[in-house]
Amino acid sequence: MTVAQIEATGRFTAVSGKTGEELELAMQRLWLTGQVTPLGARLLVEHTFESAERQPVEAIYSFVLPREAALKSFRVQGEGFEMTSDLREVEAAVQEYERGIDNGSLAVLARQYVDGMMNLNVGNLRPGEPVRVVLEILAGVERHDEGFRFRFPFTLAPAYHRKAQAVSLPDGGEMELPREEFGDLMLPVWKDNARGLHAVGFDLELVGGQGLTEVISPSHALKVGGEGEGRRVGLAVAGDVPDRDLVLEARSAEAWQLAWSWEGAVSALLGSTRFGEPEEETPRKVVFVLDRSGSMSGSPIKQAKKAIEAGIAALRPEDRFSIVAFDNEVEALSSELFDASKKSRIRAQTFLSRIHSCGGTELAAGVEAAARLIAPEGGDLLLLTDGQVFGTPPILETARQAGARIHALGIGSASQDRFLSQLGSQTGGQCRFLTARERVDLALLDMFASVSGPVASAVRVEVEGTTLPARDVYPAQPLLVRGEAAGKQLQVSWAEGSFTVPVVEAPKALGATLNLLAGAAEIADLESRIEGEPEGDEAEQLTALSRKYGLASRVMALVAVVEREGDKPGELPQTRVVPVGMPQDLEREAYFGAAIQSIGGVLHAIDADMAMEPMVEQRMASFAPPERVRAYGPAPPIRRFWDRFRGKDVVVETEEETEEDVLVELASELEADGGMPGKTPEERIEASLEALERFLDSGSTRSRGPFRHHVRRLLDFVSEADLNEDQQDRLTVLEERAAD
């Protein structure tokens, strides 16, 4: 038996009349299938609904679209029926849905809001009636030179918005966004414990197009089948909980050199290393922009700070840099760029040591402040953030205006991948997204090392006489080319070189996917430029794109109404918003405060009316800590890591230190002239040779790996030093190894 009962939270929850325990929810299961390629993915996301309540239910599942993604259609299936959605203008779709609800029919509406947030509404779900809704989604992937990373959100992360209100519940939190900006979007309730929520899982086909060496996941346990160009990847266990994104990383044997054709169109992916090495001459102007908001607390901010130190150590004398840290407020290391001298490095370290994470995420203000530092000629911003903000179009507008390339390094178990990828692509920068369990410092160093001028400019891509649009090629960013053309060969040429790539005819299904992927990317890009409700020209353009590709957008929604026998017109369904898990690794205090949780058990025990009273409100304003902790003491002494190699002064760390930790720390000790520190010139040469060896052992060379800049600088330093015969021999060996 089931009864609806008001919990201490004031919400209705279905509980068992027998046990008093919460019943399974309106949505039971979410299963992801489909095909993932280096150019994007075509996904089928199956949502299984079945309600244990006694009255009909309107289930609302909220989720966020991945990067460069759009919805194509859905199928709704149940006992004795199956129906495919119609693509309609939003207003018409909503009306149709409402008519369906009013008639007592099963009505399904998939509607998109700002930031790629979606509400999937399944109205008039009858008690015990199994209904499946299978969404077809086109989505982009994060493309690397030698592989790609696919990310699918199994939960929607709570995020910062100046006008949002967060409410702490005994077992989680909920958040409300201002109607004028977000319309009637409904956010899920976040549960501290995702167990007992709907099960999630996946079974995907990976198509490499060229040999894949491995497929790994930093988020889920995998079972992987197949070899060569494709893989079948599934969840190693029967089901998982919705508290983090699925992240898959596929690595290819060599840099991408892929060209597919279908029905008069060509899509190609070319690794940046195919174009050679970047010129080293141009001095770099870099501002590290560090998100120190509350949601970054813990390991992300710690790793980020270390990585920035190591990045600064790799700067050359002619390079200029600064650091900007932001939460609700912005703080900068300096009012103008510093050179990379010893003095400025120490000031940078002091600045970093004072940074603590707390407060909101006023990302636009941080970007603006950083952009001012490199104006007017521009430069590169290295942004470290979890990107957890709602209402991103104005931020993107600020970023586009800033005149800087923004390289975004996202951190988190539940992503704002869509937003950060736009931040990168719309400013000419790169974007990578890591789970909080991966090493942020190595990724930042790697990203930092690839910040430079273009590897190839004035790139021309032709297919038998037809020129396709192409941009300049930057390190670590493979070139993606799409366009209408037909032929067997892709000719690529630029000022310093050229190569050709055979064009392979794509299987039919893949061809259609490639076309839709181009459409989804176009729609996502246009939407990110629209502030508020799409109106006038913007709405028209978006409608035209939606119609052209048959894809949903903010102006076109998907709807289906299934008339069943015994539909009772006028019956009012109970609204049930499907809860999700608080993203793993995200501290609830960052958004919902902790106060009520500790007395959660008590709350359940006392009278519901009384329990209402102590409901703790955490407004966004309270994100700002009462007082920022500032340690104005002197900078910590630079630890002499090279001493370690000789067994001297070994510092005992509280946490276990890994090989990577040592390398990052070592990298941060590089002095302004490119050598390691030491008391005498002799000691410095020895330490530098040892450090070089360590970096080479870790796999970095002159042109590869996160420490490639450190390798180059150390080599320069040592080769210019006064070496004895033995040292000269060692250098020769090291130079050979570094040559890659």
Partner: protein
Amino acid sequence: MKKNGFSLSELAEEAGIPARTVRFYISRGLLPGPVGAGRGAKYGAAHLERLREILRLQEEGLTLAEIGVRGEKAVPQELPEPEPWWSYAIADGVEVRVSSDQAPWRMRQIRRALTELASQLQEPGEREEQED
């Protein structure tokens, strides 16, 4: 407002919010459900008033959770059974209502008292005229 109340979509339109949001508020216990069921389900002026109050409180910065706590006594969940009452206009601007559910002897007693009261409440002018 129509004579017999609003449908859900009419109520939503009147308040200027989507019908889905109204259903959500009802499910959260912020707003009472309709009077009647099925096609005959109607919402009244009290519903509209409460809905506007919710929107106003939201404008003021309250969350739905807080509004829920405040709005306990807003509108009774269901209308009570109607009760018949007699209405006597005993003087200009004075009306007395008597429950029709009275024993006959009691009813006669009340009517007598009301007649007396009515004569006392006659306009001063009228009374003077009578006295003259």
